[in-house]
Symmetry: C2
Subunit: 247 residues, 2 copies
DNA sequence: GCAGCCGGGATTGCATGCAGTCACCGACGC
DNA sequence: GCGTCGGTGACTGCATGCAATCCCGGCTGC
C-alpha cells in the first residue's frame, strides 16, 4: 500500500489557486487574485466587490472580472446583494457551525482513507510538517498568524490529498477556505495554536501507525475541538466588542 | 424537538431549481432550463454545450448563456474541453464511487441530525412518501423511472432539509444530481428499486422512533448498498455493451 | 492508396455599448 | 426639526463586435 510519496492530483486550480502565476485566461487570473486578496484578509468580510471598480483597478474589462466575481460567489466567498453589487461574505456563527458540523465526518473519512494509502515518503513528509509546526508554536512568542494558518492548511490538505478521493479533497478545500475566512486572528491565541498542533500529532501518529479507526476518531475529535474553540473565541470577540462599544 | 412540520430553507434556487418559472435574470432562466434538460437525460452525457448554438436556440444573446454554462461546469454537470466548447459531463466509475464514498458519512449525519429535529408533521409526511414509494414498486410492473427517481430524490431531500444544516443540504443536493445523472436506467431494475424502498423504510423507522444512532447506521448502510448495486449495474452494462459491440 | 498540408468554419474569450434599476443624498415643504 | 420627494450617480445585466485559436475536412503530392 504505497505507490509514490506525493499524491498527484491536478492540484485543482479552482480550489487551491496555485499562485498568481500565468493563468490560462484573464478571468482565471482575476479570480485567483481576488480569491487571494479575500482569503488573505486584504479585503475583509463586507468589502464591496464592484465589477466596474475592480476592472478599473486591475486594468482589464468587466467581462473577465464579472466572471471571477461570480466564481467567488459560487464558492461561497462572496454574496450578491441585489442592487448593491457583490461583497465579501460575512459568515454568521450559524453558518460557521454548520460547516464544522459537516467537516467533522468528512475530515474523519479523509484520515481513514489516507491511513490505508500512506507511503513511507508520506510519513516522512508529514513528520517534517509537524516539526515545522512545533517550531512555530515553540517559543514564548508564536510565528505570524498567516504562517500558522498556512501550516495548518498544508497539514490538513496533505491528508486530504493522500485520501485519494478528489471529490472529498475539493469539498474540504472549499469549506476550509470559508472557515479560514472567518477565523482571522484565532491563531493569535497561543493556547489554541498549541492545542491544535498537539492534536495534529495525535492524528499523524494514528495515520502513520496504520490505525485507521483511531485516525478517524482523533480527527473527528480535532474538528470538534476546533469548533468549540472557535465558538468560544467568537463569543469572547463579541463580548469585547460590546465592552469596547461602550467606551 | 419540533417547531414546525416543514423545514423552510430558501429552497436553494441554485441547487434545487424551483421549476422554470420566472427567474430573476435571463442567466438564471437559461441555467435552470439547461440544468433541467441535462438532469432529465434530454441532453445525455457527452452532448455538446455550445454557447453560440444554445443562444440561438434559446433566442437570447451569448452572455447569459455563457454564464449558465459556466455554472453547470462549476456544479460538475458539464466539463470544458479547451477548444471544443463545453459538454455534458461523462462521469467515470472512479468519480462516481468517490461521490458515494463521501456521501455515505454525510447522509448518515443528515439522518442523525434529522432524527433530533423531526416533528410529528414530518413523521406523517415521511410516511406518506413511503406509501407512495410502496405503490410505485408494488405491482408486477414498476412506475416510470423518472417517477422512481423523483420519489427517491424527494425522500432523501426531505431528510436533508430536516437536518437543519444548509451547507449539508446543498452539498448533498449537488452530489445527488451528479449521481442521478450517471444512473439513468438503474431504477428500471425492479429488484434494485424494491431493495431501495425497503431500506428507506428502515431509515424512516429509525428516524421516527428517535433512534439517532440507528438512523445513522442504516443510512450509511443504504448508501453503501446503493453504491454496490450501482457498481454491479455498471459492470453489467459494460458487459452488455461489449457483447453487443461484437454483434 | 496514403501521408501531409492548408483553408474554412466555428468557438471561445475579451472589450465595449446601452438601457433599466436602484441606492444614496441633498433640497424642499410642512 | 423632521419627513418626503426628486435628481444624480453608479451598478448590473444583456447584447454585440472583434481577434485569436483550434478542429476538421478536403485537397495535393508522392
Amino acid at each position: 500500500m504505497a505507490e509514490q510519496g506525493v499524491v498527484p492530483f491536478a492540484q485543482a486550480a479552482q480550489t487551491q489557486g496555485g499562485e498568481d502565476a500565468i493563468g490560462g485566461s484573464l478571468a482565471d487570473t482575476a479570480y485567483r487574485q481576488l480569491r487571494r486578496s479575500v482569503l488573505s484578509g486584504q479585503r475583509p468580510p463586507g468589502s464591496p466587490l464592484s465589477v466596474s471598480a475592480l476592472a478599473r483597478d486591475m486594468g482589464l474589462s468587466r467581462s473577465p472580472v464579472r466572471e471571477a466575481v461570480q466564481r467567488l460567489i459560487h464558492d461561497g466567498l462572496a454574496t450578491h446583494v441585489p442592487h448593491r453589487g457583490a461583497q465579501v461574505v460575512e459568515l454568521d456563527r450559524r453558518e460557521l457551525m454548520e460547516i464544522y458540523e459537516v467537516k467533522e465526518p468528512l475530515e474523519a473519512l479523509a484520515s481513514r482513507l489516507a491511513t490505508a494509502r500512506f507511503s513511507q515518503a508520506d510519513v516522512e513528509r508529514l513528520e517534517a510538517m509537524l516539526v515545522e509546526q512545533d517550531r512555530a508554536v515553540a517559543g514564548p512568542v508564536l510565528a505570524e498568524e498567516s504562517t500558522l494558518m498556512e501550516l495548518d492548511r498544508a497539514f490538513h490538505s496533505y491528508i486530504h490529498r493522500a485520501a485519494g478521493n478528489r471529490v472529498l479533497c475539493d469539498t474540504l478545500a472549499a469549506w476550509s477556505s470559508r472557515t479560514n475566512l472567518a477565523f482571522p486572528s484565532g491563531w493569535a491565541n497561543p493556547e489554541y495554536a498549541r492545542l491544535s498542533v498537539a492534536e495534529h500529532h495525535d492524528i499523524a501518529r494514528a495515520i502513520t501507525s496504520g490505525d485507521a479507526d483511531e485516525a478517524e476518531r482523533v480527527t473527528a475529535r480535532h474538528v470538534r475541538l476546533v469548533r468549540t474553540r472557535l465558538a468560544r473565541w467568537q463569543a469572547r470577540q463579541a463580548q469585547d466588542r460590546a465592552a469596547g462599544g461602550v467606551a
